[in-house]
Amino acid sequence: MSLLKVSGLTKTFGGVHAIEDLSFEIKKGTIHSVIGPNGAGKTTLFNLLTGVYTPTQGAVSFNGESVSGKSPHYLAKRGMSRTFQNLQICMNMSAVENVMVGRHLHMSHNPIAAMLRLPSITKQDKACREKAIELMEFVGTGQYIKTNADAMSYGALKRLEIARALAAEPEILLLDEPAAGLNGTETAEVDELIQKVADSGVTVMLVEHDMKLVMNISDYLLVLDYGKKLAEGTPEEIRNNPAVIAAYLGA
């Protein structure tokens, strides 16, 4: 069954169509990649799916619930998590605290209890910290646990974002160019990491330029061009799709 269903999705900025009449589905437990040339609307699509932007037209349903126009934190509550192409790390916090923010939905938000530091809070907080550390080790940033976020390298921050997104225990994880700006070794590590995440049962949606990485790990691909769907299918099908070849070679 499909976890995420998009139909007729359209977003315009001042008359320009960034996404135009886009429909597709994502099945549970798959790795689904979105590819396309620069400006094809991939990040815009992510922003629409996660509620950062409001669609001009069309519908998004998640687990059978219509969620178009809902706020990001509502979608997060429903089990949607993401990373960003341009890092969105809280530089005013330590690395582990960034990941702990990711567990926000699983924590108590009573300010009075927090101010009084009631035992229930400290207990929960301790568990949260342990979980965050575990996740940092999982994504391979174990050595940065006490480091401030602003003292970490770009590659480490990319992985820290994934840890933060995983901390929410999402049903679907949207990764926006997780390998951008990384060198070969780092890319391979991220490749492995995504595979690990998918194996743990999380549906992954991926925007990526690195074709090798994409073809390697994706179950399905969606090809965008100028905000429209150009092609859709398994890596094998896409590789042989004449329209895709034309667009990529022609460009």
């Binding site: 934190h73 997060a76 993401r82 809280c90 916090m93 702990m100 923010v101 927090a114 933060r164 997104a165």
Partner: protein, 316 residues
Amino acid sequence: MFEKLNSPRTGGLLALILAVLILPLFFQNTFHYDVAIHVAISATVAISLNLLVGYAGQISLGHAGFFGVGAYSSAILTGWDFGWSPITAMLVASLAVGVLALVVSGPILRLKGHYLAMATLGLGIIIAIVITTEDWLTGGPDGLSVEPLTIFGLSPQGEAQWYWVFCVVLIASVWLSLNLIDSPVGRAMRAVHGSEVAAQVAGVDTTYFKTLIFVMSAMFASLMGSLSAHYSGFVTPDIAGFHHSIELITMVVLGGMASVFGAITGAVILTLLPQMLTGLEDWEMVIFGLILMLTMIFMPKGLVPTLLTKFRRGEA
């Protein structure tokens, strides 16, 4: 053990308590107590303002307005027209300020950066103008005298007793703030500052948390306004004015944003400095402005965070 002493919650709090206990040994007269009390009042307000500005990243240039509403509400409600008990008046005032903050927070907290600065500044100035103008209620520019404070039949007499009252309040607020910052609520708040969109996709209802901290910090300012009104026995519109707002935010920024002890340091400096500069007569403003500028130019993160980083680097 040493690890714990190094943390702000244990070590910092202990040091603060120690300082509060030792300081009176140096006090020679009630004026010294008075200065210390002013430091404590400002520090407490600055800490709550720092939660909003330093931790949650929302500028407020109108916080003295809330302080003023608290002070004036207490003055008016405990006055002969109403004759309420100070504690009731204080709580009601703080609730009213909370409601006011809640009402305006909707539209105000959608704003960012300089627009937010402008809106809060405007709000503070409007409050000050209302207080100055409605003299049938507030005594106008000449101010209003305030009944003494009585809580459960007890009433602090003289500066020395008030000193302990305000120090207890200060220490309590330091403890509560440190707890809050290091909690899921506090992290959500700081995430709003670090990256609003990241916080949102992590499931943080940023509007709720911004509103929460804005309302809390306004209510806190109001409570301190009430207390300080009872202490000084007199309120004038100056306490709600633009200059007081600027003074409060300066304490936060000078001492160090996102640092509880920074707010205290800022309050100490901004309260003592004018007292120390009095001998300079006409040059007072020049020196004050210069100190403010130089500190911020060379330590843009504020005194405490900058010095801490220096020390840590030295240790490492």
